[in-house]
Amino acid sequence: MEITNPSTGSFSVSPLRKSLFAQDILLIGVSFVLMAFFIPLHWVIDFTIFCILVLSFDLLYGYMGRLSFGHVLYYGTGAYMASLVLLHVSRNPFLAIAAGVAAGALLAMVLGFIVLQTDGAPFALINLAFNQIGFWLIASGLQAYTKGEDGLNTTAGTLGFINFSNHPFAFGFFLVCLLLVFVLLKVFTISPYGITVRSIKENEDRVKFLGYNVFYFKWFTFVLSSTLAALPGTLFAVFYGFVAPTIISPFGNTEVIFAVLIGGAGNLYGAIIGGVVYKLMSNYLATNITRWEMLLGILLLIWVFRFRRGLTGYAWEWILRGKRKPAVEV
């Protein structure tokens, strides 16, 4: 018997919020288009894909407080499923994207029951374990289908103007995906449902005492987050027409975690800013600075000890400076 509060099932959004979405969409859309004038377009496309992945991770880590070391598993699953569909079933790119997302969702539904039995460090590590198993399956276990280290070469079909090897089209399509994911997550996080999820981050036991079925909320959020991680994977597969096991390698998780931290966890703008800043850094610095990993390590240490709230956290504080009044007058 599930105990759920009827009010949590709704995703009601006030008209005020709706006008805010228009602002968000305009702001993010214009920023990405402007970015395309200054840096190569294929980089911006890469950033867009990465930002969707970071957004999905922010839901799990920033909003629900579950640090996973295996988020890339779903990204890689999406990418491989899309490639396999392109290769064996149909060259329709939309079918490949849908199949990849569905595969990620199905995997998350099953694994969600298992991994959510744990919390804290065991949660991070059991996700890592599943990611490692997935990586091994792709790299050698299912070599017959995935071609192991050689990877899969695919070409997505074209339908009129829909052509994913055409950079401007791909950019436009991926940007729309990014905006849709952003709006979806925004609706999700400001709805009563999202507030319950954030309460679980603060104190799971108290939410339980209030009569909520905590496991259901956690499971649904985990599945949503993983499904949204599979989406950029499929976009990657459709755009590049090539996937290799590195896409699902557990080391990829550090990139995602770091991007969320730079921007500020638990903030959707933070995820996008973090994703862009991280990609800019890794693209420029990694080519110009030999000791890139050391620099990354030092930056991470500075972040942990001095700069926890991330870029958006500090920006927000700066904006609110002077405006904030103490909640309780003493």
């Binding site: 880590y61 640090l67 298992i114 039995q117 744990t118 804290g120 460090a121 065991p122 991070a124 590590l125 059991i126 890592l128 374990a129 599943f130 490692q132 198993i133 091994w136 790299a139 050698s140 276990g141 557990p250 080391f251 550090t254 975690i257 931290l261 000791r291 890139w292 990993e293 050391m294 990354l296 390590g297 030092i298 930056l299 991470l300 240490l301 972040w303 942990v304 000890f305 926890r308």
Partner: protein
């Protein structure tokens, strides 16, 4: 088959050396210490340098490497780990991961990215029932057993050991007695780091040294710590050997699957309780129906 068993026990011994420190920081400070992998790999590279400098005397270079790593690990504990105590788990994971990254890059900077093989220091194989068993592997295994007994004595008899065991149980209680728990933790942390270097050096002749060796063993050692129980030192000993055998036996049939099997075992152990509960529910339903 005997060769496989001995290989498994050797791997188990190495895993045990490495996992003790990890298990203690896990159990006492609730910190998932990725920096342990950095101490391990840096220790091995220092060992290789000392080998080259001082005429390939294995034990001498080993002792020097451990001695050189002790102050470094002390500094890491002071500057990074201690500041993370009482913080949420994520910050600890990220900060120690940063130390691991810095270590790997430092190694690439100083020694280069090429893997560096080391030869078997004993070069003696025992002929045994038509099989070649390198004596070195037996020595590694036996030294792990000796170390296990020595650590038992240390934790059960010496006052430092007793304080640490008590603090593993109830940190606040020990502090309430007026003892500076942090000081004892830092002693044990340094001991654990020394043992990680020992494990790394003993493993070097079997595997090869490469800058990312710390990442690899860390993943397996986390499995050891989780299977054995965090902060449970006897559990760590047995799980290290069980997982070592799992690796060796899997590798015999399918070498790429070895690590994956370890993670499968870890997943089973983590989910033991929920699986048991689910099984009971199923059994109950079946019994109830029948």
């Amino acid at each position: 088959m005997i060769e496989t068993l001995i290989y498994g026990l050797t791997i188990g011994a190495i895993l045990y050396f490495f996992s003790i420190g990890l298990s203690i920081t896990f159990g006492t400070m609730q910190i998932v210490n990725f920096a342990h992998g950095m101490i391990y790999s840096l220790g091995v590279y220092l060992f290789l340098t000392f080998m080259a400098l001082f005429g390939k005397i294995f034990p001498f270079a080993l002792v020097l490497a451990i001695a050189a790593m002790l102050p470094i690990s002390f500094l890491i504990e002071r500057l990074v780990i201690r500041r993370l105590y009482g913080e949420s788990l994520d910050y600890a994971i990220i900060a120690t991961y940063a130390v691991l990254l810095i270590g790997a890059d430092l190694i690439k900077w100083i020694w280069g990215a090429m893997p560096q093989p080391t030869s078997d220091p004993l070069r003696i194989s025992l002929r045994f029932l038509d099989m070649n068993v390198p004596l070195y592997r037996l020595v590694v295994f036996l030294s792990a057993v000796v170390l296990f007994l020595a650590l038992r004595a240390f934790f059960n008899r010496s006052i430092i050991g007793k304080i640490v065991v008590a603090a593993l149980e109830d940190r606040a209680g020990v502090r309430g007695l007026g003892l500076d728990v942090n000081r004892y933790f830092s002693i044990v942390f340094v001991i654990g780091s020394g043992l990680a270097v020992l494990g790394g050096v003993l493993y070097a002749p079997i595997a090869t040294a490469e800058p990312y060796m710390g990442f690899h063993i860390l993943l397996v050692a986390f499995a050891v710590v989780i299977v054995g129980g965090m902060g449970n030192l006897t559990g760590t000993f047995f799980s290290a050997f069980v997982l070592g055998l799992v690796i060796a036996i899997t590798a015999r049939f399918w070498s790429q699957a070895a690590d994956t099997m370890v993670f499968a075992v870890m997943a089973l152990v983590l989910l033991k309780n929920s699986l048991l509960a689910a099984w009971r529910r199923v059994a109950k339903t079946v019994m109830g129906a029948g």
